[in-house]
Symmetry: C2
Amino acid sequence: MSNPDKSGSANRSDKTADFETLCRKAGLKVTPQRLAVHKALIESKDHPSADMLYRRIKNVIPNISFDTVNRTLLTLAEIGAALVVEGTGDVKRFDGTLRKHQHFRCVKCKRIFDIDHTDFDDIPVPREIGTKFTVTRTTVYFEGFCDACMMVPHK
Amino acid sequence: MSNPDKSGSANRSDKTADFETLCRKAGLKVTPQRLAVHKALIESKDHPSADMLYRRIKNVIPNISFDTVNRTLLTLAEIGAALVVEGTGDVKRFDGTLRKHQHFRCVKCKRIFDIDHTDFDDIPVPREIGTKFTVTRTTVYFEGFCDACMMVPHK
DNA sequence: CTCTGTGCAAACACTTTGCAGCTAA
DNA sequence: TTAGCTGCAAAGTGTTTGCACAGAG
């Protein structure tokens, strides 16, 4: 925990440098706000919401607006510098099928499709998870583009 | 479509009867609204939101309120007559860790924990999914109660 | 200098809560 | 009868959009 970086790959400045490169490659300007959002995100281990990050970043750039944080996060996700935790951000969706199955979600049209792949019906809960958490649900979850959305150009 | 039921297990009235039994067992009253919501849900294959179902049920019970539909769905999920699609209903949560990993989400406190179980890092996309969808993300996803939330009584 | 990004504010969409009258049991 | 359910209304929370000014390239 006190050990700064075990990933073996890059320290924080390296990550920032990589991020700057990524921005330029994507045609995005490197602004203090973007750097701050990126830095705060990679330092956060709690999968923060836009609001949680906003409050943290305010300590660094007091007059940053929530909208900038929110929009920047969305931008980071688009250029691949951040991930949106699977499923989050959608309205609640219900399923009346109680039989064990999996879901595929189209990130474009938001449709959710049932997947019945019995190999995935009994994924065992690894010991290290089962002892720390009480797992009530284990699913294999797919995201991507459905056939209809693949036909129209993205964006 | 005109074919009533191919599931082989139970026809619609059976499912409704089962649902009534489940309600009584849970100490819930069997109301026309609950029956209508349940019926509409199990007939829907598109993982509807409360609003989507509300509009459908309005055709059957024109003066039903959105709130009843919404609350009923939440109730169904509680008694195990419906499922909330994994992750949905939460605010967007971001992740700055790009390395392949999995998530455990506590349904009570909404905290999300990283899981690093390398066995799950390379779940192959089944042929029948890959040909129909363009999968950009495959994850094993866990839900349940974290240790802290297990200590306090649920509800 | 130019064009993108930022900050502010308003509009929206979804969810939750409280309460009075209604109804299943 | 009576506890629980429904419908209505309001408030709360998170997200999106439009626009004028500021700042990166």
